[in-house]
């Protein structure tokens, strides 16, 4: 049994003018094994974020099912935690209070929530910034808070919805490697959505390519690069081949243009 099983998932939205239903995802099936880092790449509107929301139990499918360890998902749960593209930090809470949010909501009884939150603040490299407010932090730092917040509730599954999409290219790259460093501690099952082919390959054990109209899976690639991933891997022949394949799966002019890469 896979850790996450997505079976014939169909998700629809009502269109704004109520003219009908828009099919965001059409009979999508996917299996994700425990402890793997799976990246989802696809063009805008292919439903990748929607898929993530469904796995987190924040939206209900029209048909099909998501199962975690065999149990169907009906709503959010402690074993799943999400990191958002726009950080979604409570602006009135300090860094440590934000990280603590999940612990408060789950009525954490396993030790002092503040001490636990502090650990994760340090883990993501923000020691010393505990009493800062989000508006005093840079984009990269805010996302670190978002990651810390997700990790604090000790999830088995990490869902990351284009977490670095709002950051500049430089910070994006750094944060990617930071994320891997943090992920290596516990090796949660991770589902990472991105626009960027490079990000998908560098970070993932497996790249799942999605298409749109309607949202569905086109194909998937196993990435056989050794961990820990390093910068110079991008020059290897293997990497270039992966890149070419993902590119061709995505079709012409779909994924975001890559700044500077081959």
């Amino acid at each position: 049994m896979s850790h996450i099983e997505i079976d014939d998932l169909t998700i629809t939205y009502e269109t704004a003018d109520q003219a009908g239903r828009f099919v965001a995802i059409d009979r999508l099936s996917l299996r994700i094994e425990r402890g793997t880092f799976v990246t989802l790449v696809g063009p805008s509107g292919c439903g990748k974020s929607t898929l993530l929301l469904a796995v987190d139990g924040l939206i209900q499918p029209a048909a099909g099912e998501v199962r975690v360890d065999g149990t169907p998902v009906t709503g959010p749960g402690r074993e799943r935690a999400m990191v958002f593209q726009d950080f979604a930090l409570m602006p009135w809470r300090t860094v440590i209070e934000n990280v603590r949010l999940g612990l408060e909501l789950h009525r954490w009884r396993d030790g002092d929530p503040d001490r636990r939150a502090q650990r994760f603040v340090e883990l993501v490299g923000l020691a010393g910034f505990e009493r800062h407010h989000p508006h005093q932090l840079s984009g990269g730092m805010r996302q670190r808070v978002g990651i810390a917040r997700a990790l604090a509730v000790d999830p088995e599954i990490l869902l990351l919805d284009e977490p670095f999409g709002a950051l500049d290219a430089q910070t994006r790259e750094t944060m990617g490697y930071e994320l891997l460093r943090i992920w290596r501690e516990q090796r949660q099952t991770a589902l990472f959505v991105t626009h960027s082919i490079d990000e998908a390959i560098v970070l993932g054990d497996r790249v799942v390519v999605m298409g749109k109209d309607p949202g569905r899976i086109v194909d998937a690639l196993e990435i056989d690069l050794p961990r820990p991933r390093t910068l110079d891997m991008a020059d290897s022949r293997q990497y270039v081949e992966y890149r070419r394949r993902v590119r061709s799966l995505l079709g012409p002019g779909d994924a975001a243009p890559q700044a500077g890469s081959a």
């Binding site: 929301l53 987190d56 924040l58 959010p76 749960g77 402690r78 799943r80 935690a81 999400m82 958002f84 726009d86 979604a88 930090l89 409570m90 602006p91 009135w92 949010l101 999940g102 408060e104 909501l105 789950h106 407010h133 989000p134 508006h135 917040r149 509730v153």
Partner: protein
């Protein structure tokens, strides 16, 4: 297009008006009974303070004002937040609320007097009606201002309805609520004064009417100034609170 500094021009403008006001009656251009004079106003003001009359009447007005404001807060804040959270309630209650907001609510004064008599209660009611609407309207808008992704994030972390309200929607809409309170304070002050002018035996509004009918414009204007200053102080205080709770959104 360089212009002289703001301070200078404003002060000069006010000073010249005050000077003209003071000098015109002296020069015989205007009858002082119609316009009074700054010097007379100051003199009568001192008298009013010295005899304790100011405090006597201000106490009553302040009582009515704060009672009405408190009521407006107690009912308006939860009411506005509840309204903002429910789309169906909004669609139903929107038109009457907006109509009440636009309508001349002070016209309700006679009705309130019939219901509550000529004492404190009717004034408190006027203050309440004036203050509660901006609080409700702003509270409802404030809830909708809270970013959707914050709600999503909280739900993802396991928040249910109550937690969602207390930990996300409430703190998130606080700045808007404060803005509503600020507007409510202004309308409340107006309500007290007009209410007392219409029917009352004591209070600043009552004084204003009495002094008017006895042609004592200098004292009347002094009371008007007092109310203005209080209003300014009150709204500034609320604005300070508003700013304190809003440091994060300044950068938006």
């Amino acid at each position: 297009m360089t212009s002289p500094p703001r301070w200078a021009v404003s002060c000069l403008s006010v000073a010249s008006v005050l000077a003209a006001w003071e000098l015109a009656p002296r020069a015989g251009l205007v009858d002082v009974t119609y316009l009074s004079q700054p010097s007379l106003i100051v003199r009568s003001g001192i008298g009013i303070i010295a005899t304790g009359a100011l405090w006597r009447h201000a106490a009553v007005s302040l009582q009515e004002f704060f009672a009405g404001l408190l009521l407006a807060l107690l009912i308006g804040v939860p009411g506005g937040l509840a309204l903002g959270s429910s789309r169906r309630m909004r669609r139903f209650l929107d038109p009457p609320i907006m109509a009440l907001y636009a309508a001349p609510r002070l016209a309700l004064l006679p009705v309130l007097v019939v219901w509550l008599g000529i004492g404190l209660a009717s004034k408190v009611a006027v203050v309440f009606i004036g203050a509660v609407l901006p609080i409700v309207i702003n509270g409802a808008a404030g809830i909708r201002e809270v970013e959707a992704s914050l709600v999503l994030a909280a739900r993802s972390l396991g928040a249910h309805r109550i937690d969602l309200f207390t930990k996300v929607l409430l703190p998130g809409s606080l700045p808007a609520v404060m803005a509503g309170v600020r507007l409510g304070v202004g309308r409340g002050i107006l309500g007290v004064v007009v209410g007392e002018m219409y029917v009352s035996q004591v209070g600043i509004g009552n004084q204003i009417m009495q002094l008017g009918s006895s042609f004592q414009i200098d004292q009347l204007l002094f009371y008007t100034m007092v109310v203005s200053v209080f209003g300014l102080a009150a709204t500034t205080a609320v604005r300070r609170l508003e700013e304190r709770w809003r440091p994060w959104s300044r950068e938006r």
